[in-house]
């Protein structure tokens, strides 16, 4: 048909669809035996090898070692693999050396603090039970130092401002019981201003709706209790349209190709939107009063008193999601 012609976007899309259709066909062939059988043992071995050490090509991730740690530990957690006591202490010691005296964590020892490795390091330490390593007081002061006039946060001192900064900071601050009005001041407003006419969120106001930033935005809004102030109808429609029929996976933006990472950013966000809708219902039943309280907190300039932890609805099961979780599973395993 006319699939062979068309714009570059259409040609790329057609090629991706053919590749996915072919792989799905191969995997459902009874004749291939165990050729495509992924095995838990192989995944776990891969992860443990990563923890033990990485090759020279990983030099390009030298500023992301807490991430490597977190991704591996989090994955092992899902495989219900308890790390040994030795692994736990090695991880904790490695992460400790990424922490800076002025608060926050860098991507490695002697690297300046950055919101992303801070998020990764804190979550990894929580998984390991090593959270006493975290210098909470210094971290709080460092968070204040990257607070931007827009309400968002810079990713590091003299660094870029985008919704990743807002999410990583408010998530960590909430987890460590140090989310204060000083931190939340205008934060939700900044995030809300990143929702585009398409319904998703961009990295900065006006930027194209994108899966990674949308996850950060919606998660941040949930923590801040302000998800109901987004246009959830437009968001939900945009999200569900991003899952593609032939591939089963999610694209990150309209008219771009699917990618495995968006299984998390977009697919995960579908679950977050369910929670946001439930949070909206909670407000309706308990009254606009609490919502007003929340907004007042957000606008107080001063205030170092920690806010109560966010009231999050339970996360939905995959059977309760408006996207197609089974098609997504199949895509992930292609």
């Amino acid at each position: 048909k006319r699939r062979m012609e068309g714009t570059k976007s259409e040609r790329d899309q057609a090629e991706c669809e053919r590749a996915c259709a072919r792989q799905a066909w191969r995997q459902s062939d009874p004749g291939v035996g165990d050729a495509f059988a992924s095995s838990r043992a192989r995944h776990v071995a891969y992860l443990e090898r990563g923890l033990a050490g990485l090759g020279p090509s990983y030099v390009s991730l030298d500023a992301s070692r807490p991430w490597l740690c977190y991704w591996i530990l989090h994955s092992l957690h899902f495989f219900v693999e308890e790390p040994s006591a030795l692994t736990v202490s090695s991880c904790v010691e490695t992460l400790r050396r990424c922490q800076n005296g002025g608060g926050g964590f860098g991507g490695g020892p002697s690297q300046v603090s950055h919101c992303a490795p801070t998020y990764a390091a804190v979550l990894a330490l929580c998984l390991l039970g090593g959270q006493e390593v975290i210098d909470r007081e210094a971290l709080y002061l460092w968070f204040l130092s990257v607070k931007d006039a827009s309400g968002g946060f810079r990713l590091h001192v003299d660094g870029e401002v985008d919704v990743r900064g807002t999410y990583t900071v408010v998530a960590v601050a909430a987890l460590l019981r140090m989310l204060t009005p000083a931190l939340t001041h205008k934060a939700a407003d900044f995030v809300l201003s990143c929702q585009t006419y398409e319904g998703g969120f961009g990295g900065e106001p006006g930027n194209e709706a994108h899966g990674g930033y949308t996850f950060c935005a919606v998660a941040a809004l949930l923590v801040l209790g302000r998800a109901k102030d987004a246009d959830l109808t437009a968001l939900e429609r945009w999200l569900c349209r991003r899952q593609l029929a032939v591939e089963g996976g999610f694209q990150g933006r309209t008219n771009k190709l699917v990618d495995g990472c968006y299984s998390f950013w977009q697919g995960g966000c579908v679950a977050l939107v369910e929670m946001a809708q439930a949070q909206e219902e909670q407000t309706t039943t308990t009254g606009a009063h609490q919502h007003q309280q929340q907004r007042r907190h957000d606008h107080e300039e001063e205030g170092d008193a920690a806010l109560p932890p966010p009231d999050l609805p339970p996360s939905p099961s995959s059977g309760d999601l408006p996207c197609d979780p089974v098609a997504l599973q199949r895509y992930i395993l292609l």
């Binding site: 048909k1 006319r2 699939r3 068309g6 570059k8 976007s9 259409e10 669809e17 053919r18 259709a21 995997q27 459902s28 009874p30 035996g33 059988a37 992924s38 095995s39 050490g53 990485l54 090759g55 990983y58 030099v59 030298d62 500023a63 992301s64 490597l68 740690c69 591996i72 030795l86 692994t87 090695s90 991880c91 010691e93 490695t94 050396r97 991507g107 020892p109 002697s110 690297q111 300046v112 950055h114 990713l155 003299d158 660094g159 870029e160 585009t196 006419y197 961009g202 006006g206 930027n207 194209e208 709706a209 569900c240 899952q243 593609l244 771009k256 999601l321 408006p322 089974v326 395993l333």
Partner: protein, 382 residues
């Protein structure tokens, strides 16, 4: 390599400096097997930072390290501190050339784009920045950082907005599916309207017409979501815009698209149906919500079957809105339909257990196709 010293002599340049090894602890996890050169350079860098040296040889050092790892944000950060200390406007000017080289090798790197912003802020002038971004977009017309930077330049330094619209237009001529170009056009139109003191919405109908032109422009226009979402945004802003979009939807849904006798498939009506749904939902009367729900049913059952779960629940919610407007109580959502039956998969493929409906053995009736299904086959059989 931007006229910088060669690799070997950078280490020699710092012969007077004793490197500081990385303090990774006795048993680090995720330790990277650093190439020896990188390790030496980083040892020197740590020493340089400790003694707070901010000289021109440190610029060479940082450039060297960034060639190994352009994402080393600490090194970018320190490079800027050195530039600040040297306080020479020429250094900032040549920095744009340096950053251009790094960006062309690492177009998806965050740090180099932020570095450009920092340099431009110091220079307080946009220079040839829009040309630079256009060059980057030639290699990848959807580069997110490039578009974000372009928007920042336009907002910070201003520009000829008509030229900017013409630029988007040219990109859309190349590829009408370039959603980034549509998004940028939206921003430029908003900026242009800010220039008018009135909140005049006359431009909104023009923008709908522009999008309609791309929808009918040939090829896969009807199925291209970008112009539809764009038009829907402007349909909010004036009655004329809304009415025109409504008219276009109705024509396509009645199998009478303008200016063409093409026979339409259900997939061709998908976007028009979605758009009609939103227009009816926005009208927010009892009847319009019911009509919107009918659109959702069509999408669920015929035109966008893959997303039937979403459309069925949307239909349900729209009907409840209609009921609310008629002072009737809402109905409970009956739940999502069961997933469609799937081919089989050996147990190992799904390490956490097979999804519902899938069997570990092929059913007796299963015949494995001799060729992979085409994407259209898959779409037709959803």
């Amino acid at each position: 390599r931007g006229g910088l010293s060669s690799r070997m002599s950078t280490v020699d340049l710092f012969g007077d400096v004793e490197g500081i090894p990385q303090d990774d602890g006795p048993s680090p996890v995720c330790a990277i097997a650093y190439p020896e050169e990188y390790r030496s350079l980083m040892d020197i860098f740590r020493a340089v930072v400790l003694r707070e040296e901010k000289s021109s040889r440190v610029l060479d050092l940082t450039a060297e390290i960034l060639e190994w790892n352009a994402a080393h944000y600490t090194v970018w950060y320190y490079r800027r501190r050195v530039m600040e200390a040297m306080d020479d406007v020429e250094i900032y000017r040549t920095e744009l050339d340096y950053a251009a080289m790094v960006a062309s090798q690492n177009p998806k790197n965050y740090q180099v784009w932020y570095h450009r912003r920092a340099v431009l802020e110091k220079l307080d002038a946009a220079g040839d920045e829009l040309d630079f971004v256009a060059e980057m977009l030639e290699s990848d017309a959807k580069n997110y950082h490039a578009w974000s930077h372009r928007l920042w330049v336009v907002q910070t330094f201003g520009c000829d907005l008509e030229k900017e619209l013409a630029y988007c237009d040219a990109l859309l001529d190349d590829d009408s599916h370039n959603n980034s170009a549509w998004n940028h056009r939206y921003n430029v139109i908003q900026l242009r309207r800010k220039g008018d003191n009135e909140g005049d919405n006359e431009g909104a109908a023009d923008e709908v017409e522009y999008a309609v032109g791309r929808i009918y422009g040939g090829g896969g226009g009807l199925r291209n979501e970008s112009p539809w979402t764009y038009a829907l945004a402007f349909a909010k802003k004036s009655k004329a815009a809304r009415d025109r979009l409504d008219e276009v939807c109705d024509a396509i849904l009645a199998d009478a698209p303008e200016g063409t006798d093409a026979l339409l498939e259900p997939a061709d009506k998908q976007c028009a149906r979605m758009t009609k749904l939103e227009l009816e939902a926005r009208a927010d009367t009892a009847d319009s919500n019911d009509r919107a729900a009918a659109c959702a049913d069509k999408l669920a059952n015929e035109e966008d079957k893959f997303r039937r779960r979403y459309w069925l629940r949307r239909a349900h919610r729209l009907r409840n809105k209609a009921r609310h407007l008629r002072n009737q109580p809402p109905l409970d959502f009956p739940g999502f339909p069961d997933p469609p039956p799937m081919p089989w998969a050996p147990p190992g493929v799904f390490p956490f257990g097979l999804p519902p409906g899938m069997t570990p053995e092929p059913p007796p009736t299963y015949v494995h196709p001799s060729e992979p299904p085409t994407p259209d086959d898959i779409r037709d059989n959803l």
